[in-house]
């Protein structure tokens, strides 16, 4: 059971890496183009909406581009009203375990509150924090840490 969940995580991470380029070239809000992505699916969210927002070091405030991503997520959730989501907060490795679990929760809550403020029913959004236990990037450098300070939205 959990193996499957972990597998899904890995797939999300790989797709996310691709989506950066996709977003730059095709712009946001583009519909799936012959790639077999099912509209309203997790893959759709990742490829065409953006599944994650990023935070500054030791901070949980949303940045301009993060708000833009969450605006698109809110619109997407309005369109696919059957989808409930989990927002998972994450931290880089430059903090203590216990504080980072709480900080990841604070990041997830900030993203969740923004979605709710944009009209998503609070009952549709759950939160969790993985502290620094589920990094996207595996390196020990600033580029990796910047990627790992995030809140990731996934369809439940």
């Amino acid at each position: 059971m959990n193996v499957k969940i972990l597998g899904a995580f890995a797939a999300v991470a790989l797709l996310a890496a691709c989506s950066d380029n996709t977003a730059k070239t095709s712009g946001s809000g583009a519909t799936a183009t012959g790639s077999g992505i099912v509209p309203g699916s997790q893959e759709d969210l990742v490829a065409n909406v953006g599944d994650r927002v990023f935070y500054d070091f030791n901070k949980s405030g949303l940045k301009t581009d993060g708000k833009a991503t969450l605006d698109r997520q809110a619109a997407w959730l309005a369109k696919y009203a059957q989808n409930n989501v989990q927002v998972a907060g994450n931290c880089d490795e430059r903090g203590t375990e216990e504080y980072n679990i709480a900080l990841g929760q604070r990041r997830a809550a900030a993203a969740r509150d923004y979605l709710v403020a944009k009209g998503v029913a609070s009952t549709r959004v759950t939160t969790i924090s993985y502290g620094k236990d589920r990094p996207t990037a595996l390196g020990s450098n600033e580029a990796a840490w910047a990627q790992n300070r995030n809140a990731i939205t996934s369809v439940r």
């Binding site: 059971m1 991470a13 375990e97 216990e98 709480a102 604070r106 236990d133 589920r134 990037a137 595996l138």
Partner: protein, 469 residues
């Protein structure tokens, strides 16, 4: 396991003030009154007074006690092998403490064939203390281990004790003997007959498997307690029972659980809507203090009574309050809060009253833990690009950094307050995570004698348990 004192052997050269073996059992607190001064390692007391903390560090480095630990004799081949192994465990314990210099057996002169050692031979190689022992198989799986601790120069027996136990308990006998030697020669309790709970990490960094694990303090008898299906974190030992509180991501609802080491059952602790984390037992073992996250993204500190499972809220600061830890007398709690803007240490009354900040050095501070002696608080400090393990007095004065590197975290005290264990991470060398590792490390509270603890996997978040015997 049973134990009995064995009388001092009749010694031809026993001088007039020679004493017979203590019949008060192992808990001899008055070792300092009995032993000649030269037998003490010139170690600083673990509780440094304000004025002499600089001297403490210097004194701790010199004069470990030279001690010889020949293989324990055995009646048959099985007992001989066990005698060899027991002497090996004792040697390893005492050497790793940094307070003893175990003499290389290659230097030993001759072999004692009588019960009474040939003290001249031991004097000749500079031994001040000598440990001798015998192992006898007693049929079935029973074992009798007899040991004697000798003061070499006057040729006196300091301690003689015999232990009868299942042979599967041979390691515990070796640890108990190590603790007796430590206490008789240093005048304070040892910490060898203890276990350490920790989190065993394996697999790629982005799908890390984190299991609850337990081992003896020297890294032996390692066991994994959870199967890795869910992330396990922050284990803490109950002060007297075979129970561990820890955080589990079971069913994707991260909560604090109690794990019973005897029944291997776990149960969620308290009924909280938020995530719960960072548990610590009260010194009396009747309750746990821990943090719960709030819907708004903060965290408050609660206690949960273990009998009634009722909870009681202690903080409500609109910030992240985590990592609470009681003072050993149970009257105060040190914790970690960002109420002032960033992560710092605060001390409050056990009822949540009068919180005051105690950390004012450079950087952020986390994971405070109160020494069992009550005189120090150990913590993790994050400053610029380095992490450090340090100690300060409960009022925040006397800050002293013990170890510093790319990443160190999570100090835990040995039950005698003399040694701290924490973990160290080595950074990944590339973007595939190559080279990342996490290992447990112990260090004397003077900042010397840093040693890695052998573990079969990556290891983090150690929690040092109480003395078993």
């Amino acid at each position: 396991m049973t134990q009995s004192e064995i009388p001092a052997l009749p010694l031809a050269d026993l001088n007039a003030r020679g004493f017979s073996i203590s019949r008060r059992g192992l808990a001899v607190g008055a070792a300092a009154l009995i032993l000649p001064n030269r037998l003490y390692a010139q170690t600083a007391p673990a509780s440094a007074s304000p004025a002499d903390s600089a001297i403490v560090v210097d004194r701790a480095r010199i004069d470990p006690i030279p001690i010889a630990i020949p293989v324990f004799a055995g009646g048959d081949s099985v007992a001989q092998r066990m005698g060899n192994d027991i002497a090996g465990v004792i040697t390893n314990n005492l050497a790793r403490s940094g307070l003893f210099r175990t003499i290389d057996p290659a230097a030993f002169i001759g072999q004692d064939t009588n019960d009474v050692p040939n003290f001249a031979n031991w004097k000749g190689i500079g031994a001040q203390a000598l440990v001798t022992g015998k192992v006898d198989s007693q049929g079935g799986n029973k074992l009798r281990v007899e040991f004697r601790l000798w003061d070499v120069l006057p040729g006196q027996q300091i301690q003689g004790t015999a232990y009868s136990a299942d042979s599967t308990n041979w390691r515990r006998i070796a640890h108990i003997i190590s603790d007796v030697i430590y206490e008789r020669l240093l005048g304070e309790k040892g910490y060898f007959d203890t276990r350490v709970c920790y989190i065993a990490g394996s697999g790629p960094r982005d799908r890390r498997v984190k299991r609850l694990a337990i081992m003896d303090q020297d890294g032996e008898n390692n066991r994994f307690l959870t199967d890795g299906t869910w992330i396990a974190k922050t284990p803490r030992f109950h002060p007297s029972q075979d129970k561990v509180a820890f955080m589990s991501y079971a069913n994707n609802r991260p909560r604090v659980y109690m794990y019973d080491l005897d029944t291997q059952r776990q149960s969620v602790l308290g009924d909280f809507s938020g995530m719960t984390l960072s548990p610590r037992f009260a010194p009396d073992g009747n309750s746990v203090v821990m943090a719960q996250t709030t819907p708004g993204g903060n965290a408050d500190i609660y206690t949960v009574d273990l009998a009634s499972r009722r909870s009681h809220q202690l903080t409500n600061s609109g910030s992240i309050d985590v990592s609470p830890c009681y003072s050993p007398d149970g009257t105060q709690i040190v914790f970690n809060s960002d109420r002032g803007g960033d992560q710092q240490l605060y001390v409050m009354g056990a009822d949540g009253s009068n919180p005051r900040r105690i950390s004012f050095g450079n950087g952020r501070y986390g994971t405070p833990v109160w020494s069992p002696r009550g005189d120090l608080i150990a913590y993790t400090r994050l400053f610029e690009s380095t992490f450090a393990i340090g100690v300060m007095r409960p009022d925040g004065s006397g800050e002293r950094i013990l170890s510093e590197s790319f990443y160190v975290e999570g100090p835990t005290f040995a039950p005698n307050g003399r040694v701290i264990m924490f973990w160290r991470e080595t950074p990944a060398r590339d973007n595939r995570g190559t080279g990342f590792s996490a290992r447990l490390v112990s260090i004397d509270i003077t900042g010397f004698n840093e040693r890695q603890i052998p573990t079969p996997t990556d290891a983090s978040e150690p929690a040092w348990g109480p003395l078993l015997a």
